[in-house]
Amino acid sequence: MNGAPVLGPGGAATAIAGFARALRAAGVPADTARTAAFAEALTAVDPVRARDVYWAGRLTLCSGPDDLAPYDACFAAYFGGARPAGGRRRPPPGPPRTPPWAPEGGEEAAAGPDGPLHPVAADRTEVLRRADIGQLSAAERAEVARLVSLIRTGRPRRRTRRRAPAARGALDPRRTLAAAARTDGEPIRLRYRDRAERPRRVVLLVDVSGSMSPYAESLLRFAHALVRGHPAGTEVFSIGTRLTRITRELRTADPGRALRAAGAAVPDWRGGTRLGTELKRFLDVHGGRGMARGAVAVIASDGWERGDAALLGAATARLSRLAHRVVWVNPHKAQPGYRPLAAGMAAALPHVDDFVSGHSLEALEHLAAAIAGGPLEGGGARA
């Protein structure tokens, strides 16, 4: 590439590969194809000018704004100063964070994929179906959680602008003509096309604060069922003190493994809640940019807002303007004599389309129906 290489030919390749490895360790997806592009870019710019090398790397190795900060750090460490020792770029482990269920509990870990269903008596299943998950013992809760994975999830549909062949609708000139050509130019049968239908996106925000912890597992199981039902059209976030996107973790087919991954990804289990701030953050970063537009937005929270309730009200109002429907899931709603007195809940409620409880298996089936926009035919869990 250059008459007077700073590094030997082998040295340059080693440096590039090493830099890419450091980036990968820092979480930037600098894969082989990108690394090769970086090497190619270096032949086009002046490889001894730090600025050119910086931009050549940033343009080829990064793929999102989240990559820029780790890239800058790695670049400074790698080319601007001391080389980072391999593997040290990993973020230091944070404080121990555990989901409120036992992730290495015998059953789930031992049972392997999906876990064998315990043969339970029908009447016992019926009792469990209605029982408040928050009141159950750990074993019963685990059993209900497994049943949650079997809930059938549907979703409302919306018409798209894309047209597809249909029995009726507007005339489809292309197919009519193709047919006409075969009959000597005589359009004997007219073909039609009409707007296609697509499922709406569902965005689920699950409160993982302390007060919601008895319900966290079943709600995440439910989220997993939703994601599995329609992986491309579902987004899941955990809300606590920090908004965390856990869609990717939940895409794993096996519910046990997916939940463990999600449990590890959420940094703020059983902490406090800053619902308003985090909901606003969701809207700023994801929702307002299009994720929530026309979607069914589901918030699972008891509405215990430590921060400013007015902020939560304003954020919910904004969400309801963007989304097709807003569904609020509050397990405490099932308690006899419940009234939405928590300040956050009261502020949010005027902007909510469906207010459901989701405290038991049966209630979660109702939630699935509320998301789908009507009672599911045949209803309920296939237990």
Partner: protein, 348 residues
């Protein structure tokens, strides 16, 4: 660092040639100017003030023949960059605006159905013997005659393949707001961008003689698939710095007085920074809005950015009712920072 500059690399020598109207090949035969700085200069002549990142991105896209993926908030100048690039290269800009439900017939090509129907009718009139022995063969001939290049309507992607013949002037293909299209379209683009060829079942393959320089933009309303990004150079466009924003406004609105431009740019910088103003906007203004705001103030003949003038022209820069209310309450605080900026800048 300059001491390491390679002797056999004809850098400076190439720059004047690159600055001429028709940019000739660079050192290794690729189109365009010799280095990012030269390209930034050429973009500047087109009234686009590119920073280091944008200039290097365009330079590498030209040199490596890779699509350029521009991401950033609305109004930071992604589309403008593509337009300026086309002007620099002296080649046509072909724009494909994406939207939900866009499909091949709007992006690639479509058959001209009314003309095809006319063709059928004309053929019919010419051959009245429909039931003749050769009827079947005639029908097949008729059908193949329908799918002639004459009856093909080229949409943007196909036009981009056919547009350029001279490697020094590749067409610039702008695929705008890719995040609005659905993911099926993304998969389709992937194929298009990898070999710059399309296959029309009735006609055969159409291949680009000179692959177009492709610029994709995204406002990040959703995450674009990684496979698509991997084929591209990725550039995140930030909002411009204060000095650059002043320069951009001055270039675009030369009629506006200097101190007004500085005041507007300072206010815009503050509007984007919730920490300093305490106003967290739903949609912070982009450069496009700042330019509009300056134009609005200049049109009103406002001598300075007073709270009153700002309140009256707020609609040019903020497009949400909630933002208007939040900013209106803090207008004084927002414009207060101005003297300190003015003082710092006044001696120049």
């Amino acid at each position: 660092m300059g001491a390491f500059e390679a002797p056999d690399r004809p850098r400076g020598a190439d720059a004047p040639a690159g600055a001429s109207a028709g940019p000739p090949g660079g050192p290794d035969g690729g189109p365009g100017p010799a280095d990012p700085a030269a390209l930034a200069g050429l973009l500047g002549e087109q009234d686009y003030l590119a920073d280091d990142g944008a200039a290097t991105a365009c330079f590498l896209a030209l040199r490596m023949g890779r699509p350029l993926f521009l991401e950033g908030d609305a109004g930071v100048g992604k589309t403008e960059l593509a337009k300026a690039l086309a002007a620099v290269l002296g080649s046509p800009l072909i724009r494909l605006q994406c939207y939900e439900g866009i499909d091949a017939s709007q992006a690639l090509y479509d058959w001209d159905h009314p003309r095809q129907l006319l063709h059928l009718r004309a053929a019919q009139a010419a051959a009245p013997e429909a039931g003749a022995p050769g009827g079947r063969i005639a029908a097949e001939e008729l059908e193949s005659g329908l799918y002639d290049r004459r009856y093909l309507l080229a949409r943007p992607l196909m036009r981009a393949l056919e547009a350029a013949a001279d490697p020094a002037h590749p067409a610039v293909l702008l695929i705008d707001e890719i995040d609005r299209a659905d993911d099926e379209f993304e998969a389709f683009l992937l194929e298009f961008l990898s070999d710059f060829a399309i296959t029309i079942p009735e006609l055969g393959a159409v291949r680009a003689r000179v692959p177009p320089l492709t610029v994709l933009t995204s406002n990040r309303t959703r995450e674009v698939h990684d496979a698509l990004k991997r084929r591209c150079l990725y550039h995140w466009m930030p909002h411009p710095s204060f000095e650059r924003e002043v320069a951009i406004i001055r270039r675009r609105r030369p009629e506006a007085p200097e101190h007004l431009v500085r005041a507007v740019a300072a206010a815009a910088q503050r509007l984007r920074d919730p920490e300093r103003t305490g106003v967290d906007l739903l949609k912070p203004p982009g450069v496009a809005e700042t330019i509009d705001w300056t134009a609005a103030l200049a049109a009103l003949g406002a001598p300075a950015l007073t709270p009153d003038a700002a309140a009256r022209t707020l609609g040019a820069v903020l497009k949400h009712r909630d933002d208007h209310e939040a900013v209106r309450l803090r207008l004084d605080a927002l414009l207060d920072g101005r003297p300190e900026h003015g003082a710092a800048e006044a001696p120049r």
